[in-house]
Symmetry: C2
Subunit: 699 residues, 2 copies
C-alpha cells in the first residue's frame, strides 16, 4: 500500500528552486546547514499564516518541506507523516483560529509543521535549537498544543471531551472560550480500537467536531485490515462509494482527493468551519511527500505532487510501488532510539534516523529481535501453528521486511491493535498453536485487560516479547520503566528477564515448547527482550561477567528446560548478596568486582532470570552468612521486583540465633515520568552505579 | 431502544401450554419447583439436538425458555440475553458440530442455553445443581466451552486465532481437527474497541469464520453510539441498506430478521456452514423474550415472538416501548452481587437477582454510588462542565435511571468503551470541565493505557470512581483484587481509599474541585468506592471505630482540603501499629480492640486514606516506640500497598540507638485468581482476621 511518489521524481529540474538544493542537506554536515526559508522564518504565530497573501502559501509549503527534509537528515524524526501533512497543516492554521479553535493531533508525531507555524519554526530551522522542542505536541511548549500524545487512536475521544465541555458552556452561558474542535487522525491510527470507540461516540454527542482523516494509505508497515479495501474504493470513487465506514458510525463525511493541494484543503476546511455537527473530512495525502527518493530536489517533489494528485489519479493510477522502499530510512533504519510511535509506515518514511547514526551498531531491540526471529524461522516448516504477531511495529523490533516475506502466514501484522493481537494470540493458543506477540512495552499497556482475561485467566500459552522494557533514554510517552509492574503482578503470568542472548534464546525456546512437551510452561510467558545494559556487556569483553556467568556464545541453548525458574547463583560469597535483575545484571557483576578489589568482600552474585516468583531456597540460603541483600532493577521500584524480596524477609522473620534476617536495599527507578533523559543519567539518578552500590554497602 | 415485546402479551391464552404455567415459578418458593422439561432433560450433548425431529425444536425452545425463567427467579443470572438467544443457540447446535466446530461466546454470559445443550441441563433444571456451573463459559466444565470470558468484545479476535490455527493446519497437512469457527457477539459488545479491531482483522485473514451478530437493540442501559442509527436502518431494510458497517470492514454479510424463529435460523446457519471466507450473520433477536412481563405464560411470549417477527415487522412497527422496563428486574435490581458483565440491557432484563434477594439492603456499589451522585447533582446547575461518564454500567453502580434522566447532559453513557471514556474525560478536563468516570475496577483494566497517557502523563484532572475494588466474592473475571496494583503504580496518580461515607464524599468533593480552587489536586484522582467492610461498619453500631475515627454522620464534609494526603492517626499507642487501608480499616480497629482487651496492648491505629504516597512523618513517628508495624489491605500484596511500607523501613534503616527499625508484617491477598469464593472465606485465607492479627503480634 501507500506509495505514490513515482518514477518521475528523478527527472526533475532543480534550477527552479529558490531553496537550498536538497542534495546539499544530505551531506554528513547537514546539521550545520541552515535552511533558507524566509517566509517560514517570519511566522511567529498562526496569525502570520492567515495574513500571508494566498499566492505565497505554496512557497511556504515548499520552505516547510525543505526544512523538514533538512531536519530529518540532521536530527531524525517522524519525517514521513509530516511531509504528507505540510499543506493540510498550513490550511488548518489558515482556516482555523488556534488556540480558540482546538486542534488535537492523534499520536501527535505529525505535529512538526504545526509547531513551525505556532512560534517554533527556529526549532526546525536552526540546529542549535533542534532539541528545544519534543517530538510530540506538548502543552508545556505552546498554548497551541493540546496534549502530550505518543500512542495512537485517542484524538477523536479527546476532541469529543473538549467539544463536550464547549457545548456545555454554550448551553449554560450562550458562549464559550472554545470554538471549533478538530481531531487529526491518520489511516494507520484508525485501526486502533479506541479510535472506533471515539467515532461511535462522536455522532452520538453531536455539536461541532471536525475529524480530519489523513489518509496516506500507509501504516507503519502497510495498512492491514478489512476496512482498507472499502477505503480504497471510497478514494477511487471520489468519496461517494458505499460502504462508507464513517457514515456507518453515523457521521457526516467530505472527501478531498487533493490532500497535498493547499488551496483545495483551505476550501474544504472553510466549508466545515463552524459546522454544527460532527463531520469527517477525508483527505488523501502523500506520506513522505518531497523526500528526495530517487530525485534530489524538493521542487521535483512538488511537481510530482501536483502531477500525482491532478493527473495520475485521473489516469487511474492511484498506487504504484513506492520508491521510498529502498531508501536509507526504510525498515532497517526504523529503530530504536526512536521508541517508535504507532502511526505511519516505517518501511517508507515513518521514522528517519539522523544521517550521523548510519552505520552504528544495532540497538538492542533490533539485535535481539532479529536473533529471536532467526531462532523461530527454521521451525516454521514443521510447526504450522507457530505465528509471530506484531501490532504494526515490526521494523523497530528486528522483525525485518525480509523475515516477514519469508515467514508468510507465520507472520501477522494486525494493525495498531494490541488488544486484538493478544486476544488473537489466546485464540491461537486455544487451538493448539504457538503464538508469539511482539511489540514495545509501553504499547502493551493497551492490552492490559487481555493479558488479565484472555491470556492469564485462561492460562493461554502465549509468548510475549516485550521490547524496550526497563529504563532507556526514551521520551515520556514510550518509556518501558513500568513494564514489570504491569506484567509481573498479573496472576499466572511468568515473566522472564534474560541477561544474555543465550538466555534469551533459551527462554524463547522454552516459552514456545509444544503444549505436550516435557517441562513446557503451563501458561503464558512474557520475555523481556534484553536492553542496553545486557547488549553492552555482550559486546564488550571488558564488561563480561567475572563470576563465570554464561554469555551468548558460551553454551548451546538448553534442551531440557527442567529448571527455568530457579535463580542462578553465579558467585557464592558472604556478607553481601547482589541480585541483579535483567539489564542490571552486568552492574551486579561490576559492583561485586569493585567490592572484591576495593574492600576484599566476596559478594554473592545472583541472576534471578525471572521476576514473577521468588526462589525461596535461594533467599533462605542467604540467611546463613549475609547481612545485606541488594536488589537491582532497571524499572520502577513501586510495584516492581525488589519490593517482593524485601517483603519476603520481612514476612518470614527468623527468630533463631543462627539465621540472619538480612537487611534489604532496593535500587531502581522512582515513580515518575522522564522525558528523553539519557540512560546513563537515569542510572545515576536512581543510584544504579557501581560507586553508589559500593558506598551503600559501607554505610 | 430495544423493546419489541408489545402490548399483546397480556392477552395470551395459557391453556395451550404444556409446561408449568409461568405464574407458578414466580412464587417465593420457586427454587423448589422443578421444571417439567422432558425434551431438555433428555439432551446430553449436541448430538441429541441434531437427532431430534425438526417438529420438536419449537417445543424444546419453549422448555428452555421456561427453564431459564424459573432459574432466573430462583437463582438469578443474565437471563435477558439468554432468553433472546434460545432459538439461535438451538440452531447453532443443530447446524454446527461442537466441539469440532468451535463456538466462542462473547463475554459469554449468554451461554446458559449452550450449557443446557452440552450436557449441563440439570444445572438449570434442578435447584441442587444450580451452582454446579459458572455463569460464563468455562473449558473446565465442558469441551464445548472455549474460554472463560466476562469482559466484552474479544470473541471475534479469539475466533480469528482459532481459525488462523485451523487454516495453518489445513495448509500444512490438508486437514485439521477444527471445523467451522463461530463467534457470537451482541450489539452492545460491538461498541468495544477490541471488537472493531477483530472485525478489521477478520476479513484480512480470510478463511472460514462466522460471526453471529446477535442484535437485540440493547446494551446494558440502551445502545449508545452513532453506529446504532445505521444499524437500525440496516434492520429496517432487511439487511440491504448502506452504509453497512460489516461491509465497511470488508466482510460478507447476511441478515436474519426472524432471530427468534428456530427454523429461519437453522436455514441461515446451514447456508454459511463450511463457508470459505469470513461472514457476519446478523440476527435480530428479542432480549428477554418470554419474560412474563405483563403476561403470565411462556406460551404467550412465544405467540408474541411469532407475531413480532412475522407480523409487526411487516407492519413497520420495529420498536415500541418495552413493557419490561417496569418489571422487578429493572435498573434497581441490576446489581452488585453480579459484578455486572458488559453486555445487554440492565434496565430491561440484563441481570436478574433471585427473588429471595429482593428487599435486602443495598450493596456497597449502589449505596455509595447513589451517595456520590446525590452529592454531584446539586452542582450541575452551576457547573456546566461537571459530567458523570459511565462506560455502559450505570445501574449496578448506583447511577440510577432517575438520576440519569435528571442529569441530562451531565451524564454520558459512552457504550462499553472504557478506553474512550477515560480519553474523553481527559479531553473534558483539558477544556476546563470536571469529568467523573465511573465503572467497575476490573473493567477499568481496559483503560490502563489511557490512564497512563491521556490521564496521568497529561496531568488531566479526571476523577475516577473505582467500584468493586478490593476483595469480594466475585467471580474470577470481575475480581477487584488487582485495582490497587493497577492504579497506584502509575506515576502522578493520586488514589484515595476512603473508610467511611463521609470520607468518600470529602474525597469526591476534593477531586472535583475547580482547577483554580485553593488546594485543588493538580492531576487525576482515583477514588476507590468503599466496599463491604466499610459499609458493614457504617451500618452496625457494634462495628464502629473504638478510636474515635470519624464515620459518615459524625462531621460535615471538609471544605478546606488542606491536608488530604496525610495519614490519620486515630489512636496513638506503642509496641504495635496497625495500618488498615480502605476496606480493612474496620478490621484494624477490631484487632486493636482485641489487643487491648486480650493483651493490654494499646496499638497505634492508622487510617492511611490514600495509597499512592507514603506519609513519612507518620512512618518516622512510629520509630520511637513501635517494634512492629502491621499493614492490612484487601487486595493483592504483590504490587500492592503494604510492600511500599515494608520497603520504606528497609531502605531507611536508622543506625542510631534511639530509633527503632520496626519489623513490618503485610496482610493481604495472594497473587491468584479466585472464583466466587465468599469474602469471609477470602479474608480467612489471607489472614485478614482479628485472631490472625493478634496471634501474629504475639509470635
Amino acid at each position: 500500500m501507500s506509495e505514490m511518489l513515482g518514477k518521475g521524481l528523478n527527472t526533475a529540474d532543480s534550477d527552479a528552486m529558490n531553496t537550498t538544493p536538497y542534495a546539499a542537506v544530505v551531506t554528513p554536515n547537514a546539521a550545520n546547514i541552515e535552511v533558507n526559508a524566509p517566509l517560514l522564518r517570519n511566522i511567529t504565530s498562526p496569525a502570520d499564516v492567515k495574513a500571508m497573501p494566498a499566492v505565497q502559501l505554496k512557497e511556504l509549503c515548499r520552505e516547510i518541506r525543505t526544512t523538514l527534509l533538512n531536519y530529518g537528515h540532521a536530527h531524525g524524526g517522524h519525517i514521513g507523516s509530516n511531509l504528507g501533512m505540510v499543506e493540510a497543516t498550513v490550511a488548518l492554521h489558515r482556516v482555523f483560529d488556534s488556540p480558540h479553535d482546538r486542534i488535537v493531533f492523534d499520536v501527535s508525531h505529525q505535529s512538526y509543521v504545526h509547531k513551525m507555524l505556532t512560534g517554533r519554526a527556529l526549532s526546525y530551522l536552526e540546529p542549535q535549537h533542534f532539541n528545544d522542542v519534543t517530538g510530540f505536541t506538548n502543552p508545556a511548549e505552546s498554548e497551541h498544543d493540546q496534549f502530550v500524545l505518543g500512542h495512537t487512536g485517542t484524538s477523536i475521544s479527546l476532541a469529543c471531551g473538549i467539544a463536550k465541555t464547549r457545548n456545555a458552556e454554550i448551553s449554560a452561558t450562550g458562549t464559550s472560550s472554545i470554538g471549533n474542535v478538530v481531531a487529526v487522525i491518520g489511516d494507520g491510527s484508525l485501526s486502533s480500537g479506541v479510535a472506533f470507540e471515539g467515532l461511535n461516540n462522536a455522532a452520538e454527542q453531536g455539536g461541532n467536531l471536525i475529524v480530519i482523516f489523513n489518509d496516506n494509505e500507509m501504516s507503519i508497515a502497510g495498512d492491514f485490515g478489512g476496512m482498507y479495501g472499502p477505503l480504497a474504493r471510497l478514494r477511487a470513487s471520489g468519496g461517494t462509494a458505499q460502504p462508507n465506514i464513517f457514515n456507518a458510525f453515523g457521521l457526516d463525511y467530505r472527501y478531498v482527493e487533493a490532500g497535498n493541494d493547499v488551496d483545495a484543503l483551505i476550501k474544504a476546511f472553510e466549508e466545515v468551519r463552524d459546522i454544527d455537527h460532527p463531520v469527517v473530512v477525508h483527505i488523501h495525502t502523500l506520506k513522505g511527500a518531497g523526500y528526495e527518493g530517487k530525485t534530489n530536489t524538493v521542487d521535483a517533489a512538488h511537481q510530482q505532487l501536483q502531477h500525482t494528485t491532478a493527473t495520475d489519479k485521473a489516469e487511474g493510477i492511484p498506487s504504484t510501488n513506492n520508491v521510498l522502499h529502498d531508501e536509507p530510512w526504510h525498515s532497517d533504519h526504523c529503530n530504536l532510539s526512536d521508541h517508535e510511535p504507532h502511526e505511519g509506515q516505517c518501511e517508507a518514511s515513518h521514522w528517519q534516523n539522523p544521517d550521523a547514526s548510519l552505520g552504528k551498531p544495532e540497538d538492542p531491540r533490533k539485535y535481539y529481535g532479529k536473533m529471536a526471529m532467526a531462532a523461530l524461522e527454521p521451525r516454521f516448516a514443521s510447526e504450522p501453528g507457530l505465528v509471530v504477531i506484531s501490532p504494526a511495529t515490526p521494523g523497530s523490533n528486528g522483525i525485518t521486511h525480509e523475515f516477514r516475506e519469508r515467514a508468510g502466514a507465520h507472520y501477522v501484522d494486525t494493525g495498531i491493535t494490541e488488544s486484538h493481537a493478544v486476544a488473537f494470540a489466546a485464540g491461537i493458543a486455544r487451538a493448539g498453536g504457538t503464538p508469539v506477540v511482539a511489540t514495545t512495552a509501553s504499547f502493551f499497556q493497551r492490552a492490559y485487560d487481555q493479558f488479565f482475561q484472555e491470556m492469564s485467566l485462561n492460562r493461554s500459552r502465549v509468548t510475549v516479547l516485550d521490547f524496550l522494557g526497563g529504563l532507556s533514554g526514551s521520551d515520556n510517552t514510550h518509556s518501558g520503566a513500568y513494564d514489570l509492574a504491569m506484567f509481573a503482578n498479573i496472576p499466572q503470568v511468568t515473566m522472564l528477564v534474560p541477561t544474555s542472548g543465550r538466555d534469551f534464546l533459551d527462554d524463547l525456546a522454552w516459552a514456545t515448547l509444544p503444549a505436550n512437551a516435557e517441562n513446557a510452561p503451563t501458561g503464558s510467558v512474557v520475555i523481556r527482550v534484553p536492553g542496553e545494559g545486557v547488549l553492552a556487556a555482550e559486546r564488550d569483553a571488558t564488561l563480561r561477567p567475572i563470576t563465570g556467568a554464561q554469555t551468548a556464545a558460551s553454551q548451546p541453548v538448553d534442551s531440557v528446560f527442567s529448571d527455568m525458574l530457579s535463580w542462578r547463583i553465579n558467585q557464592s560469597g558472604s556478607q553481601v548478596a547482589i541480585l541483579g535483575l535483567g539489564n542490571t545484571y552486568p552492574l551486579a557483576e561490576r559492583a561485586a568486582a569493585a567490592l572484591q578489589s576495593e574492600h576484599g568482600i566476596t559478594a554473592t552474585v545472583i541472576d534471578p532470570r525471572q521476576c514473577t516468583s521468588l526462589d525461596t531456597d535461594a533467599l533462605e540460603s542467604l540467611r546463613k552468612n549475609h547481612a545485606l541483600v541488594i536488589t537491582l532493577e532497571d524499572g520502577q521500584l513501586e510495584g516492581g521486583w525488589g519490593e517482593k524480596v524485601t517483603s519476603y524477609y520481612a514476612n518470614h522473620w527468623q527468630h533463631s540465633e543462627s539465621a540472619l534476617n538480612p537487611r534489604v536495599l532496593n535500587f531502581g527507578a522512582t515513580k515518575e515520568f522522564t522525558d528523553r533523559v539519557p540512560l546513563a543519567e537515569l542510572n545515576k539518578r536512581y543510584g544504579l552505579t557501581v560507586d553508589n552500590i559500593v558506598s551503600a554497602v559501607n554505610r
